[in-house]
């Protein structure tokens, strides 16, 4: 399996965490990353997203996502992997920190820690644990 962990782009502050929207900068970041993904994804993939608005908006830059409640803020590494493993081929998970950083550390290094993933950035992992890091791309480095 190939798993792409994609952190939501820059979002507004707000009292209701699940309802926070992307800022104009965040929308640009999501669009730029979606463009990169379209250029490098081979054909078919599954796009999963947290129900939080900022994750939904980030995913929507690429296409309509399947919403997974299990990917909401606070998702465990195990929950992220489980959600992804229900699908074959390339699975893109749009979610949150530190959740995605924990999943990356566990899959790549079997480490119980959280790696830093910048807003809007993606980590492309290949193979079962221990996974290989195929690419890391962030909006600033495009």
């Amino acid at each position: 399996m190939e798993l792409i962990l994609w952190r939501h782009a820059d979002a507004e502050d707000g009292a209701h965490d699940m309802a926070r929207r992307l800022t104009p900068k965040g929308l640009e970041q999501a669009a730029a990353m979606a463009k990169w993904l379209r250029a490098h994804l081979p054909g078919e993939y599954t796009l999963l997203a947290s129900p939080a608005v900022r994750a939904q908006q980030t995913a929507a830059a690429l296409g309509p996502p399947i919403t997974e409640r299990a990917l909401a803020p606070g998702a465990s590494a195990a929950a992220i992997v489980k959600a992804a493993q229900r699908h074959r081929g390339i699975v893109i998970v749009v979610g949150h920190m530190p959740d995605l950083g924990r999943a990356a550390a566990e899959l790549v290094a079997d480490a119980r820690t959280e790696w830093s993933i910048e807003k809007g950035a993606l980590w492309w992992l290949a193979g079962d644990a221990p996974a290989r890091i195929k690419a890391v791309v962030s909006p600033e480095m495009l």
Binding site: H40, A105, V108, A109, A111, W115, S116, E118, W123, P130, R132, I133, K134, A135, V136, V137, S138, E140, M141
Partner: protein, 151 residues
């Protein structure tokens, strides 16, 4: 600081002396694509340090800036030698290290995961790390990982 670990591009298989293996024509293309990507993102001043092996030096040459050849980066370099050559983490600015596998992958496992692993790095691929202090903790951020097939 910014630390860029760059594995030499594709090289010829055979040479009597491993250190004299040259890049293939595909390897030269990989090196120039990676160099172009780097030059668009590096600050105007950076250090470029290469293993003495011809395939590493030829890869580094694609950047077109002065190269410091460091004997301790030759094939078989330890993570400690690579980290010392880069001046990580105190060095200010950006340092590009051109070297070999599994040496760079072992240094990465240590820098990013604090572990003993041997991470995979494709020929001609680039890993860009930064360090920062957040909430009093020293953090390593993987800012980019790109390989020639993704450039």
């Amino acid at each position: 600081m910014d630390l860029i670990l760059w594995r030499h591009a594709e090289a010829e298989e055979s040479a009597a002396d491993d250190l004299r293996r040259r890049l293939t024509s595909k390897g030269r293309k990989q090196a120039s694509r990676a160099a172009e990507w780097l030059l668009q993102r590096l600050p105007s001043r950076f250090s470029l340090i290469s293993s003495p092996a011809v395939r590493a030096h030829q890869t580094a040459q694609a950047l077109g800036t002065p190269i410091k050849v460091e004997q301790s980066l030759a094939p078989g370099a330890t993570p400690k030698a690579i980290i010392a050559a880069a001046g990580w983490p105190e060095n200010k600015g950006a340092v590009v290290i051109v070297g070999h596998q599994p040496d760079l992958g072992r240094a990465l496992a240590q820098l990013v995961a604090g572990g003993e692993g041997r991470w995979s790095i494709k020929k001609g691929a680039i890993w860009w790390l930064s360090n920062r202090v957040r909430d009093g903790d020293a953090q390593v951020v993987v800012r980019a990982v790109v390989s020639p097939d993704l450039l």
